[in-house]
Symmetry: C2
DNA sequence: TATGTGCTATTCATAATTGAATGGTAAAAG
DNA sequence: CTTTTACCATTCAATTATGAATAGCACATA
């Protein structure tokens, strides 16, 4: 767009930055919602404008030359500044219309948030919601999400956080399993039953050790680290498993076991969002709604 | 160019940055070699994408809103990074074809450099030269010029400098003036003649005080601060004036006076260029040529 | 070996962007 | 007061940029 009389066209630099990050024209095109030939042309135009080869073409993408690597530092700075600019501007937007991106763990996204979001959409139909289930930590500053619902205290800088409360956890099993195997009255009776465990995670092993029951990974004949699927295995009658009470108590297929016999640790619920966005009306509205709805579910 | 699915189009940000700097759509359009309606559309698109008013329209241009001012910081950072990127890339360019921008004082640009540049263009015709006469200090990092010829030691950071040598100065007057008024043999005789002085600058007053002649601004019945015009006044026969010997001795209209009677201070010649550009073949070639030609002129 | 995947490069039609031209407003100058 | 200057906003034709489609290459898999 900018003619070549001294000033570099920043859209060429944007494409350069995306190619450096993605390592290929196709990857950059996907990231920028553009086409591969367009990105290829931008890189070619930039190389011509600068008079330097920035990449070597390879079958699996583009590898930056040493010049390209050196220049990538500046491009990264531009990207960082652009991200911050967007963040600040979004904090000042005064329009309720638009999208808010919420991220939460897969379990929470699957079992907790849908009913809350359905109600919220009815209450605020002008706000669109994008739900990003993820068990990894999203980077809020890069706007991978606007609001995160987390079971641990957030530690990222420049974010605001709110501790909504603590949700209890308990042991559950499917009614069908208990009908078949019997219902344990005491904790020691339960150790003869099947437990659904985790594969790599030692969380349940540690919890049971705290209860005086020493187990190893082989004690759990069925193991799955993915928590939502772990819960589906319990619901299907594969054995006993732990879950948040707001999930388990709401499920008609399962029963809660051993109340009073074991004291499970609670899980905290935290909300977090980039500080700069807290003045954004839209995100503020979703934040408040989520906070109230989650508090209500855990009985606060 | 980038569709509005999360990633801001940097060409919009580039236009925003130019408008903030120039204070108007028209000014920004001139700076970016674009048209005013295009820049206006970019600002409008950016305001729509961000959902924030960035400027208030005024008869004399655009005034940034408080949001616009805050966002301008990031745009400034992007511009700074883009400038550095360009500088580094240009330092790596390996093409002799292209433009080199030289800046020097108006006097040097007028009387010294033309013959040098004519020879250089013959020696290296693939290199285009842009000469920027200026008595103010250009910012080399922003590529307002590639090479500066200066009469003082450059102090800007991240530049390389070379002291070519010192050029003597002397007192001159037009032959026509001397034919009419006589030729002074001694310094005290000269004080009865006309001197062309400076208006605001006290340079000549200080030089003469050093020679034991106390003068005030009113001693000079004709005054002009612009050095090239000052020299034209001398050449036209308005009176005596000081000049660099490489200018004065080359001029058939004037004579050099009072040699041996007064010892004028020399003026240094320095070359300077951004450090990052010193690997650029084109700029390196022009630097070397200038250095040699100027040294030859002052007898080194 | 054949097939599938992921990539780059190129062509051509379409879509989007751009700029010349025009009109209007406000402020400065004569 | 009139004229000039500098600005923004809008329209419409021209220009430029884009993307779908295709071909080719390298690598991995069955």
């Amino acid at each position: 767009m900018v003619k070549d009389v001294g000033e570099l066209d920043w859209s060429l630099l944007q494409s350069f930055s995306a190619v450096v990050d993605a390592g290929s024209l196709s990857g950059a095109a996907r990231a920028l919602a553009q086409s591969q030939p367009t990105i290829g042309r931008h890189i070619k135009a930039l190389e011509a404008a600068l008079g330097v080869g920035l990449f070597t073409r390879a079958p699996r993408g583009l590898a930056p030359t040493s010049a390209g690597l050196e220049i990538a530092e500046m491009a990264r700075e531009m990207q960082s500044a652009a991200n911050r600019l967007r963040l600040i501007a979004d904090g000042k937007a005064d329009d309720l219309n638009g999208t808010v991106r919420i991220t939460a763990s897969v379990v929470t996204s699957h079992y907790v948030l849908p009913s809350i979001i359905a109600d919220m959409r009815q209450a605020m139909p002008e706000i669109q919601i994008e739900l990003v289930p993820s068990d990894t930590t999203e980077n809020l500053i890069f706007r991978e999400a606007d609001i995160a619902v987390r079971m641990y205290r957030p530690t990222q800088l420049d974010v605001i956080t709110k501790h909504v409360g603590d949700q209890p956890t308990a042991v559950y099993a499917a009614k069908s399993y208990l009908d078949r195997m019997g219902r344990p009255k005491m904790l020691k009776d339960a150790t003869n039953l099947d437990f659904v465990g985790f594969d790599k995670s030692d969380l349940i092993i540690r919890v049971m050790a705290d209860l005086g029951i020493k187990t190893t990974r082989d004690f759990f004949s069925l193991r799955c680290d993915q928590q939502a699927v772990h819960w589906e295995l319990v619901r299907a009658g594969c054995g006993l498993g732990g879950a948040q009470t707001i999930v388990g108590d709401a499920d008609p297929l399962v029963e809660r076991l051993l109340d009073g016999q074991i004291q499970m640790q609670s899980l905290p619920i935290w909300l977090t969002a980039p500080q700069a966005l807290h003045t954004n009306l839209r995100i503020r509205a979703v934040w408040d709604y989520l906070s109230n709805a989650l508090a209500k579910q855990i009985g606060i």
